[in-house]
Symmetry: C2
Subunit: 145 residues, 2 copies
């Protein structure tokens, strides 16, 4: 399985958010070749500013594995994680984080700059199907202008 | 009501965490003089690395007010918020965040440095009953060494 395979599943999650009137971000968590959790942004539905795709997917993954750390897991997310989600990924000690589109406004790097905010053992991959992830965001915000 | 009054309530939450074998951090959310939510660290109990006192108190506050932003609320927490919780406080747009003890290891400032990570309108107060907050943490980690 390639990163693109799992990112397509994260994009399908983002599309669900889009169709529900939510900022379209989706995430899946994998261990090996298996998807163990997924999530999409539910800030409006849950009336909770912290209900981001990554938080929902992570909490679901902790629940699924009965473990509070995920050192063998990879999280795929369609857009660069924000500061909160990056902090959550730090605590979860994930093996790997893969994101699609960079997010200059709300991505964590605007605040964290050159300081590594993830767990020391976490590796990062950027730009996987990033254009698709970015396009969904653009469509969403254009429709609201 | 003074900041100390509400911080004592946050410390009582931290004590509950301590007694449950959790890293002893507690939080309360207030609007005006009313406490609308409280929480303590439940990482072990929920088996969820994101179940920090602030996250639990914030989600409870969103639920209580039926609102996804808390621009009139103050969050009191016994220890400096980590990166994740700081990001959550950003998204919640709180009026004010008050913390007790600084946390050199896991406090957000180790990563955020000189960049302001909260909402632009959020104001910060540090060091309210900080010695009490720090003492609980020291006791907890000493007992585990």
């Amino acid at each position: 399985m390639t990163d693109e395979h799992f990112m397509k599943m994260a994009l399908a999650e983002a599309r669900k958010a889009f169709d529900a009137g939510e900022v379209p971000v989706g995430a899946v968590v994998t261990v090996g070749e298996q998807v163990i959790a997924r999530g999409h942004n539910m800030v409006e539905r849950l009336n909770d500013a912290t209900a981001h795709a990554e938080m929902i997917a992570l909490t679901s993954a902790f629940e699924r594995l009965g473990a509070k750390y995920l050192p063998e897991a990879t999280l795929f997310v369609t857009v660069e994680p924000c500061l909160m989600c990056t902090g959550a990924l730090y605590w979860g000690k994930l093996a790997r984080v893969v994101w699609g589109a960079d997010d200059e406004k709300n991505g964590h790097r605007r605040v964290t700059g050159d300081t590594w905010p993830f767990h020391p053992k976490t590796t990062i991959t950027r730009g996987v199907l990033g254009e698709e992830g970015a396009l969904l965001m653009k469509e969403f915000f254009r429709a609201r202008r």
